[in-house]
């Protein structure tokens, strides 16, 4: 008998009907089973296993940007720029150093010559 035949005339197939009911009961019981959950450390455990088995070669080497958070990198970069700017400003020869106009030599003043 086909499923279509049973669906059309269920009363004509009492055993099929009984089977359907039994199946439905089992299906309900199975779908009501609790969902098993892994322990919290599962992800770390799997990753550690991979590291151990491959002696650290399995995962690609992480780039510097992956290991250090972007925020920390940005702060370090800004601080670096501030320090460079300060050095350029404070240095006598730095391009940011304030320029003092040389005072013109006055009449009668002694000319200082190097010995």
């Amino acid at each position: 008998m086909s499923d279509e035949e049973v669906d059309e005339k269920p009363e004509a197939f009492p055993s099929a009907e009984r089977e359907d009911k039994a199946e439905e009961e089992v299906r309900k019981a199975l779908s009501g089973l609790q969902k098993a959950r892994t322990r919290e450390t599962f992800v770390q455990d799997v990753t550690a296993t991979i590291h151990k088995r491959s002696a650290g070669r399995f995962f690609a080497r992480r780039t510097f940007g992956d290991r250090v958070p972007f925020g920390a990198l940005a702060i370090a970069a800004v601080l670096g720029l501030v320090v460079i700017a300060y050095l350029m400003w404070a240095s006598q020869t730095g391009s940011l150093a304030p320029r003092h106009e040389a005072t013109p030599a006055q009449h009668g003043s002694a000319l200082q010559l190097a010995p």
């Binding site: 089977e19 039994a22 199946e23 009961e25 089992v26 299906r27 019981a29 199975l30 779908s31 089973l33 609790q34 969902k35 098993a36 959950r37 892994t38 322990r39 599962f42 992800v43 455990d45 799997v46 990753t47 296993t49 991979i50 088995r53 399995f58 995962f59 690609a60 992480r62 992956d66």
Partner: protein, 195 residues
Amino acid sequence: MTELERSLLRRLRDRDERAFRELVNGHRDRVYNITYRMLGNTAEAEDVAQEVFITVFKTIETFREESKFSTWLYRVTVNHCKNRIKYLARRHERDRDELDESSNGHNTNHAIGGTRPTAPDRALEGAQMEKLLQEAIGNLDEEHRVVVVLRDVEDLSIEEICEITGLPDGTVKSRLHRARLALRKKLSRHVGDEA
């Protein structure tokens, strides 16, 4: 497949550890639930679930994106479970042989589950039913166990089960039908014993 999944796959192929963690986090409970229901033992289930993710990561290049990623993942899971069931059956037989030799004919009881509680109250009933069901699933043969776990426990569609197992539609349905009837028979026997 969503753009997010594609990006995750790209990163997995680049062997990105963070992508791997994301993958495991997203699928760990579902994979573990399948392994647990297939094997009926938490330690074995966890071990197999770990192996599943390691295999997925190792063989991610072989995934050709013709099916859903989850379908491929569950196929790997089912294959690992089948292998473990075979391995455990072989080990169980070897252990039994060794035990038979050492006990030299003494009566040994290998029944799973032991004694059943005699006065089940309402709270215990659920847990007991769960145990009975798990035992009944464990007593099914491997091919029936797979379809019943995927369909009735995991609620996957028949089409997905066909893709995962590589079986035709009719075979999946008939196995499912036989598995449910076998479970029903086993459960009614238990319930009948208690009454």
